[in-house]
């Protein structure tokens, strides 16, 4: 650390981090407000000998990176709401076939084409439940460029560790605004490389037989082990099965490998929570406004704190319960109609003390917006 800083957009911080993590294959389709990610990678990846391809749509983009991941590449695609909707089927495929990949959704206003150049955080539940069927997913976010970098690297690490797609759920404000980014030196952040099987050529390799630690070593397409990958329920060979034991076992494995680790997957930042009577919970760019309010109110002696979530899913229920234990009120600050608030209400013993400070008009939520809600909650009026 300590090198000359760069002054970049959040989307570029994401690109720098992906390359730091070893990204060598990107496929995408332009869409506001994520396009700068594709543009920067179209410059950088060929310089590094990596692969960049602009596909015919977002569906093809995710499919292409899944194919590339199977050959051993570290892969990513980037999109926004409408494109993320198109990706949902292939996302489920990557979950089912357990293929590491990173999907960036720089959120804009929805539904449908919505308000492409304006900010929103309305895709939180879509990221969790957009694809069909029972499943688990890892969704990370960040509020500033240094954390965009850290969470992007972490997304690649978790994708490799758990053989799963990981979603980076950024938003228009973080994606487009420019601020300082200090690039970590190689080695500053740990990187997880793909776990390859040690099974020798000619010996049976079971692509879907977990080791004792739950991990599934991979074998690259083009290597010495030939096996089947499918989105159908499959056995340890990767061959379709309708055996109830196989079906049940696979579903439990897919969900448990992530949900059972909610505690260690919970990334967060906390600001002045020790004695906070009012705990704000926020994430992404909204957390910047919430933090502004914390610093402003603390100067006036108010006991206000902020829990900034960086892991949205699996939802860190235990963390939220613990951090809110002493709070008289919990205020969730987000730019949607209460998507994370619902999860927070499930976490705390007194859900009636959970309030929402939101904004859904395409404008970025301001400290004044949050203050208005705080005054109402504290019975002071607007």
């Amino acid at each position: 650390m300590g090198k000359t800083p760069k002054f970049v957009q959040g989307n570029e911080a994401c690109v720098e981090a992906a390359l730091y993590a070893g990204l060598n294959f990107f496929a995408g389709y332009p869409i506001t407000p994520s396009t700068e990610i594709a543009e920067h990678l179209s410059v950088r990846l060929p310089q590094l000998g990596g692969k960049f391809i602009q596909m015919e749509d977002e569906i093809a983009s995710l499919c292409a990176i899944i194919g590339a991941s199977l050959t051993g590449c570290k892969v990513m695609t980037a999109t926004s709401g409408p494109g993320f909707s198109l990706m949902q089927e292939a996302l489920g495929y990557a979950i089912m076939a357990e293929i590491p990949c990173v999907i960036v959704n720089v959120q804009r206003g929805g539904p449908s084409t919505g308000i492409p150049t304006h900010v929103a955080q309305g895709d939180v539940n879509q990221a969790r439940w957009g694809t069909h069927g029972d499943h688990a997913i890892i969704v990370l976010t960040a509020s500033n460029h240094q954390d965009v970098f850290a969470m992007t690297v972490e997304a690649f690490n978790l994708a490799e560790t758990y053989r799963t797609p990981v979603i980076l759920l950024f938003d228009e404000v973080v994606g487009h605004m420019r601020e300082k980014l200090v690039l970590p030196e190689p080695g500053d952040l740990p990187l997880v490389e793909r776990l390859h099987t040690s099974v020798k050529e000619g010996v049976d390799y079971h692509p879907y037989l977990p080791r004792e630690d739950g991990r599934l070593p991979m074998s690259d397409f083009g290597g010495v082990h030939r096996y089947n990958v499918t989105g159908l329920v499959h056995d340890m060979w990767g061959f379709p099965s309708t055996d109830p034991k196989v079906v049940h076992g696979l579903l439990r494995h897919l969900v448990d490998k992530i949900e059972n680790r909610a505690g260690i997957l919970a990334h967060y930042r906390e600001h002045q929570l020790e004695d906070a009577e009012v705990v704000m919970i926020s994430y992404g760019s909204s957390a910047r406004s919430a933090l502004h309010v914390v610093e402003d109110r603390r100067r006036r002696g108010e006991r206000l704190g902020l829990l900034e979530l960086q892991t949205l899913w699996p939802f860190p229920h235990e963390l939220v319960r613990r951090k809110c234990a002493q709070a008289k009120a919990v205020v969730v600050v987000e730019m949607n109609m209460g998507q994370i608030m619902q999860a927070v209400k499930l976490s705390v013993p007194q859900p009636e003390r959970v309030f929402l400070a939101n904004r859904i008009d395409g404008n970025f939520i301001t400290p004044a917006d949050i203050m208005n809600i705080l005054r109402i909650i504290q019975g002071k009026g607007v």
Binding site: F7, T117, V173, H176, M177, K180, S289, E295, F364, T366
Partner: protein, 181 residues
């Protein structure tokens, strides 16, 4: 330092967003300050009222937008009409005298500078209008050193065009200094 909140506004294609980025980048890269730059996007790449916000501070900046700028630049009448009301009372409001007719009721130190005309007369290239504006801003605010702006320009502008930019920056600073009192 006092936190500096700036809004640059004008019409798409005038370079106000580029100017904002250069200013904020100079603060971060050359003067070890914090800066955040953001902009409002419309669907149009040219025309319309464009706005870019910059905050420069020596402390962390959380809320990244500017609600009440203490420095406002308006390079078109449309931008002036739209944004002059948001300036912090008594703040610095810089306009280009060719494009903007100011109103006395605005509570601000209004500086009408002949930036466009001077650029055309003395340099002849409208492309550096925005750099001239930056020169005026730093002369009037002293928020950054001019050599910081030049250093950022060195990294962004082809070498053949550097001298042009240097002259525009100087020109803007002269206009700014002349209007300072």
């Amino acid at each position: 330092m006092e936190r500096c909140r700036l809004v640059f506004s004008g019409s798409g294609g005038q370079g106000v967003i580029t100017a904002a980025i250069i200013l904020a980048e100079a603060a971060v890269i050359c003067e070890n300050l914090n800066a955040v730059q953001s902009q409002s996007y419309g669907a149009e790449a040219r025309g319309g009222a464009t706005r870019s916000d910059v905050i420069i501070a020596d402390t962390p900046i959380h809320y990244p937008k500017v609600i009440q700028p203490n420095v406002l630049v308006c390079l078109t009448q449309e931008a002036y009409n739209k944004f002059s009301a948001i300036i912090r009372p008594g703040g610095l409001l810089i306009t280009d005298s060719r494009y903007v007719k100011i109103q006395r009721k605005v509570d601000a130190q209004q500086r009408e500078l002949p930036m466009y005309r001077s650029v055309m007369e003395q340099i002849g290239k409208p492309i550096v209008f925005n750099i001239c504006m930056l020169g005026a801003v730093i002369a009037l605010t002293e928020v950054l050193r001019p050599d910081s702006i030049m250093k950022v320009l060195e990294g962004r502008v082809p070498r053949d065009f550097l001298e042009l930019n240097q002259r525009a920056l100087q020109l803007g600073m002269e206009l700014g200094r002349a209007a300072a009192h």
